[in-house]
């Protein structure tokens, strides 16, 4: 799992690349939380999932965890470019109601 970020206007973009499962989630969590903490003044974070080749329900837990952290900073969360598999899981779990897909 690789994490990259970019700041555009008042948005933090977090790009995830690789396979998100129980094995890789701890590192992704630490990196994403570090990025969120150091950009706490922004108004929203966008998770770009274009590079996520595989994701299971561990990804749901990961995204909800980041959503809660962002909420504490008053930041909104959005998701963009999930592949078909990730999209299916995100829809099934109803996550788009709290982190809309752009």
């Amino acid at each position: 799992m690789r994490t990259q970020s970019a700041r555009r206007g008042d948005s933090l973009y977090i790009y995830l690349t690789g396979e998100l499962d129980e094995h890789s989630v701890a590192a992704a969590r630490a990196e994403a939380d570090g990025l969120i903490d150091s950009n706490a003044g922004l108004s929203r974070a966008v998770f770009n999932l274009a590079g996520v080749k595989f994701m299971d329900s561990t990804g749901i837990g990961f995204l909800i965890g980041r959503y809660k952290r962002l909420k504490r900073y008053g930041m909104g969360m959005f998701v963009e470019e999930p592949n078909a598999g990730a999209d299916k899981i995100l829809q099934l779990s109803g996550l788009y109601s709290i982190m809309p897909k752009l």
Binding site: E22, F54, S57, I64
Partner: protein, 145 residues
């Protein structure tokens, strides 16, 4: 008809191994990309359960058995770990026995939704076995084979 059996340690790096092995085994059935993705996700959920819940992070054996039969892929994933206290609770969407660990509680829901057939058998202190099957080409799907 084809069959395979595999035994591996309950280490999280074996999740990617297990789901890719099953995908490779299923390839002769010419699944669509979306069917293959469903199977990989369901296998990943079952193996994660063995590691996280069955053995609670400790080391034990996970067994994986697969069989193809016509357009069907049958998968059986077992551990000899702690077993499930209350299966109907465990099957409830968003229920997790480890709420402090940032878990979604969606593992069994995903297995049930993504596979054609699903069953789970568990005995306290003895272990858990998940059986699930997927019929490929069951419905017309938009993506290319």
């Amino acid at each position: 008809m084809n069959e395979m059996q595999l035994k591996f340690l309950s280490r999280s790096e074996n999740e990617v191994f297990a789901r890719n092995v099953v995908a490779a085994f299923a390839l002769p059935l010419s699944p669509t990309l979306s069917e293959l993705s469903d199977v990989k996700t369901a296998v990943s959920e079952a193996v994660t359960n063995c590691i996280v819940h069955g053995y609670r992070g400790g080391e034990g054996w996970v067994t994986l058995a697969c069989k193809t039969e016509g357009a069907w892929l049958h998968i059986e994933i077992s551990d000899s770990g702690s077993g499930i206290d209350d299966i109907s609770k465990a099957l409830t969407p968003f229920y997790t026995s480890l709420p402090e660990e940032e878990r979604s509680g969606m593992g069994f829901t995903i297995m049930q939704t993504f596979m054609s057939d699903f069953s789970v058998q568990s005995e306290k202190g003895k272990g858990t076995t998940v059986r699930m099957s997927k019929q490929f080409g069951a419905k017309a799907e938009g993506d290319a084979r």
